[in-house]
Symmetry: C2
Subunit: 387 residues, 2 copies
Amino acid sequence: MRDVAIIGVGMNKKWGELWEVSLRDLFVEAALNAIENAGVDHIDSMYVGCMSSGLFTGQEHVGAMMADYLGQCPVPATRVESACASGGAAVRAGFMEIASGMSDIVLVGGVEKMTDVDGDEATYALATAADQEWEAFNGVTFPGLYAMMAVAHMHRYGTTVQQLASVAVKNHLNGSKNPRSQFPMKITVDTVLNSVMVADPLHILDCSPITDGAAAIILCPADRAKALCKNGAPVKIIGSGQASDTIAFHSRADLTTIESTAKAAAKAYAMAGKKPEEMQVVEVHDCFTIAEIMVTEALGLVEKGKGGPAVESGETAIDGRIPVNPSGGLKSKGHPVGATGVAQMVEVVEQLRGESGDRQVKGARLGMTQNMGGTGASSLVHILEVM
Amino acid sequence: MRDVAIIGVGMNKKWGELWEVSLRDLFVEAALNAIENAGVDHIDSMYVGCMSSGLFTGQEHVGAMMADYLGQCPVPATRVESACASGGAAVRAGFMEIASGMSDIVLVGGVEKMTDVDGDEATYALATAADQEWEAFNGVTFPGLYAMMAVAHMHRYGTTVQQLASVAVKNHLNGSKNPRSQFPMKITVDTVLNSVMVADPLHILDCSPITDGAAAIILCPADRAKALCKNGAPVKIIGSGQASDTIAFHSRADLTTIESTAKAAAKAYAMAGKKPEEMQVVEVHDCFTIAEIMVTEALGLVEKGKGGPAVESGETAIDGRIPVNPSGGLKSKGHPVGATGVAQMVEVVEQLRGESGDRQVKGARLGMTQNMGGTGASSLVHILEVM
């Protein structure tokens, strides 16, 4: 199996409610930025992570469409979907294409255009990541599902609403230093606790937003990375883990654990030959504040049940023991669902290259991304090391 | 790169308007049949080809969902989408996972549950394979797009409506010998020409149907295939080609050629070291009768412009020079869009194993599948050889 490296990254200038750009425009901007950043003169193949372009925009077949609008026909172009983990799954598909030797230069992008539908339609589209027959059909939506996790976690481990709010406070502080953030405003624990309640105990500031956005990376064989890479150091993908879990939240043995993340992480750590305590910068899937707490536990970055105190005490801040979501995370940077997993790679690559400006984690050379779909029915974990 | 073989295949007992089974039931039946056929005691990973489960059933995240309902959590499970070529794209993803060495036993399935929505909704969902902004939004649907191809082909090459009808006649005759066929009735050229006009010159019997169905195959490294395979000979994937083209039909340089198929085929032939004239059995994407004619030309099986006379003269019949769609094709067997590309593999594997009963192509040891999305914005071509 060939080793694989990332030699270019790109995103939109800013994520948000971007009414002036369409699905295809979003993707093309990020992809061209990644191609320019890598400095490559062609690509052999491409993947597009996208969760629900059919419901959000009436467009499936977005692999081929993006190849067309990027001026790259006839390159092979395929869409990969795993709900909000679509971006991470697309990265893994590109990784395997290079690892197999089928292609040398692969573009992996993620995109979602979520604001062309109204709130009810967006909620319906997002609920398709849950179990349609047993959850969505009966009216359960994602804030409700994650609220159940929060209640279970609070009950078992004594996690507090202040600790939940601390995740949002940290991520908005980090996001205030990220020019691409949709919601770069700084907030306090009180701001969160006084914001409107969506699903008890989750206030609206415990929830990630609806976002238009895209992100892209360029992959190549690691042994060609230094020769090909025109800007910054190449970053090697040294571990890739993926796992599934029951689609319905109620089928899980333990409501306080994201089991698919724990299993994906175990595979990624084993492949990389690394341990949790060696990680220096981590981007995780904080679709709700409780998610970040549970994910940091599942990744082994903090002890089980201690995710709340860890964030409250600053352990996961940019200057803390293990910086989590220096980008601002889904909470502040935004969460265009199919793009998120790829944008996490963009952030970690920039961090490992030392290009993150005010939010730079000093001296980071080893990082990790964790991207999940639904309530954790799928998880992708990648470990990255600068070359 | 490791060589890859197919060691098991499965489908639903019968395809059609299956109101008694859901999306997940369809997939699980086909997948269990493939697992049983291979005789493997576990899988390492799985892919699900599916075009638009979001619009057809309100369910995305079907990779994880199918892993769950198949009792396979926590295996990695990812959905792959490339419109009606989703199945072929899923096969290629599974192929690369084995080729890379990441996994040893991979299940690749395809599924679509299309009849839980009404005709207008199905037409809308299918139109998402075209260009939403330039085609679908303006009211163009697929019968209209393929009718334009037919008119262009008739104008340039003298292709006749009788030749178009001959594709349907041949495929329904083949399908009458396939117990899985949705529409196994035999028809005549007159039946086609007297059936209701959908989009001139395409009558309803020139069009493939709306279908519920699934198909699945089991892949493993070729050097382990004979030891693992419990039923029938393993079949090696010796060529895999994929190409994209403009998403909008009107952007093509030549309306009478499926360029993405020609390019995907060129790659597959080169990888396999084979020529068109060596193929012994071929399954192609006859979503409309004109499609089969244009595709046989793009694959180099017949001379450019001669696809019509070839089918009319019986060259592509089961006992002809180059048998095309012995399964009955999309026309008679049915076209559950995400499943079609995988079902084509099932048919060719069974043909190469000599298990196709009344529709067996005698002595076939080398075969090919061609699967496409939209009006040909994406194409996948695979070449298979029995081991």
